[in-house]
């Protein structure tokens, strides 16, 4: 294992320290070394505005910390690598950002995240802070059935955070911000592939081991095994293996406007992501739908995983307006 770290134990904290130093005009890191750690935009609580909070394990940068700022998240709560943050951290973040208008919690659907945010929401209610929660569960690689905990939250989380953050920024109340966040969550679908697994520094070996000529279709952002392992092939064929299950799960037709996100998992060159985008867009538009907005880059990563995911969001006009609204965060700005 080769990584730019000092020690495995300190990797997450050292990274956060650097993040704080790099973006002092946008974000504040609270309790970096001691006590409940969380990140807020510098001007919280913002009077008269619903606050939007998300969080989860470290290792998916820039999700969530890089999306803190006007037009997106009021706070992000980082856990240890690939591990949910604790209820006291989440609760302190909620308390720091609440202006009295309530707080929307955007939670990726993993048992640990769901339970820790649930306890934090109970602590907040006891303090008289109103919260609502929207789960993101966009990974079509996981069969959705009543016998499982449901789908994982992956790259689509970024779209929920941006659009909900914009709704809060324009002054929507908690019920309205929650409703649009839920509508986005309900209309996103994602599917990922890895050519190489990610290595957690404290473990030192990949969660999933792939031979040089294999690809894992349906990989999770923590290296969870996917649906199947296939022989390595062209970008066109791999992209088709991602787009097909996404379209199968949420069919598109000629009336539909679509957001297309091609997301790198951490160690995939941007140039290759554009190759995948170039293959994905025609496949999606072959349904008759129109790709109205798009984003290409590494936004929801898995440490050093070499992989890519394709996400679609069925858009309505309100979502398009909210996506286009100004945003000023370390990782997304316009």
């Amino acid at each position: 294992m080769k990584k730019f770290i000092n020690t495995a134990e300190r990797a997450a904290q050292d990274s956060l320290a650097g993040f704080a130093m790099a973006h002092p005009h946008q974000v504040t890191v609270h309790n970096l070394t001691e006590g409940p750690t969380f990140i807020t935009r510098n001007d919280v609580p913002v009077a008269g505005k619903v606050a939007v909070v998300s969080g989860g394990g470290t290792g998916h940068d820039p999700l969530h910390n890089g999306f803190v700022g006007p037009g997106m998240l009021d706070a992000a709560v980082p856990g240890p690598t690939f591990t949910s943050p604790t209820p006291d951290q989440i609760f302190e973040a909620i308390r720091a950002v609440d202006s009295g208008c309530g707080v929307l919690l955007i939670v990726k659907n993993y048992t640990g995240d769901v339970l820790n945010f649930e306890v934090a929401a109970e602590l907040a209610e006891m303090e008289g802070i109103t919260t609502s929660t929207v789960l993101v569960a966009d990974d079509v690689a996981v069969e959705n059935s009543t016998h499982t905990v449901g789908r994982r939250g992956v790259a689509g989380t970024l779209l929920v955070e941006k659009i909900a953050g914009a709704a809060a920024e324009r002054g929507d109340d908690l019920a309205a911000v929650t409703a649009i966040a839920q509508r986005v969550s309900d209309n996103i679908r994602s599917m990922g592939v890895a050519l190489e697994g990610s290595i957690v520094a404290a473990i030192g070996k990949p969660g999933i081991e792939l031979d040089h000529d294999e690809a894992e279709i349906g990989i999770g952002i923590h290296g969870e095994p996917g649906r199947r392992r296939v022989p390595m092939t062209t970008a066109a064929e791999i992209t088709a293996m991602l787009v097909e299950p996404v379209l199968e799960d949420m069919p598109l037709s000629s009336d539909d406007d679509v957001f297309l996100l091609v997301n790198g998992m951490g160690a995939t060159p941007l140039g290759e992501l554009y190759i995948v985008f170039g293959e994905a867009k025609p496949l999606i538009e072959a349904t008759g739908a129109t790709v109205k907005r798009s984003l290409v880059g590494s936004y929801v990563t898995s440490l050093n995983m070499q992989g890519v995911s394709v996400t679609t969001l069925k858009l309505d006009n309100e979502m398009i307006n909210l996506w286009d609204a100004p945003v000023h965060t370390p990782a997304l700005t316009w």
């Binding site: 409940p36 856990g79 240890p80 690598t81 690939f82 591990t83 949910s84 943050p85 604790t86 209820p87 006291d88 951290q89 993993y110 048992t111 640990g112 339970l115 820790n116 649930e118 306890v119 996981v142 069969e143 016998h147 499982t148 905990v149 994982r152 957690v200 404290a202 473990i203 969660g207 999770g220 923590h222 290296g223 969870e224 095994p225």
Partner: protein, 216 residues
Amino acid sequence: MPLTSLDATWARKWASLSADAMIAAKDELTELDRQIGDGDHGINMERGFTVLGQKVQADADPGETVGAVLKLVAATLMSTVGGAAGPLYGTAFLRASRVSDLSVLHTADLVTALQAAVEGIQVRGHAKPGEKTMVDAWDAAVSAAVAVVEDNPEATVVDVLTVAADAADAGAEATVPLVATKGRASYLGERSAGHMDPGARSSAIILRMALEAAQS
């Protein structure tokens, strides 16, 4: 002379022995979790129980209740373990602390506390026995505890902890062939069979240390 009741000193010793055992089991738990989860259970438990071990080193305050110690354990685990295990263990100890705000626990109090713990885990985790989770170890332990008291009204706290520890081991072992329907292992579906659930294993360790704390 076997113990007939458990006090705050026992509770602190239980936490302290659990901390030592959990730190020693880090690699085993990590390996179990790598098979069917995301490989962080050993790291998370070591992190939380290391802090717990430091917090309970002090001697019991005079007049300290068992519940007060269990509440300290709950708060510590809730704020340090992370993952799903943090809130689950935190809730278990919190529920147990509420029914054991006594200077000593007798047999019936102990059984009540164990029942409260497993109820807490089930409510928080929305899980029931047979889903390949820590519930399988706890449920087996509590069922055995209830049964031994029903069979023998004279059963001591050590008797209860003995059957509970043994049943928890068996409960964890029994998760091996199960297919997970809760937690991260559920993503594997049928492929989760053949591996012990790491949460059930760490639960069995905690329940074994409850017995050792009463014996030492």
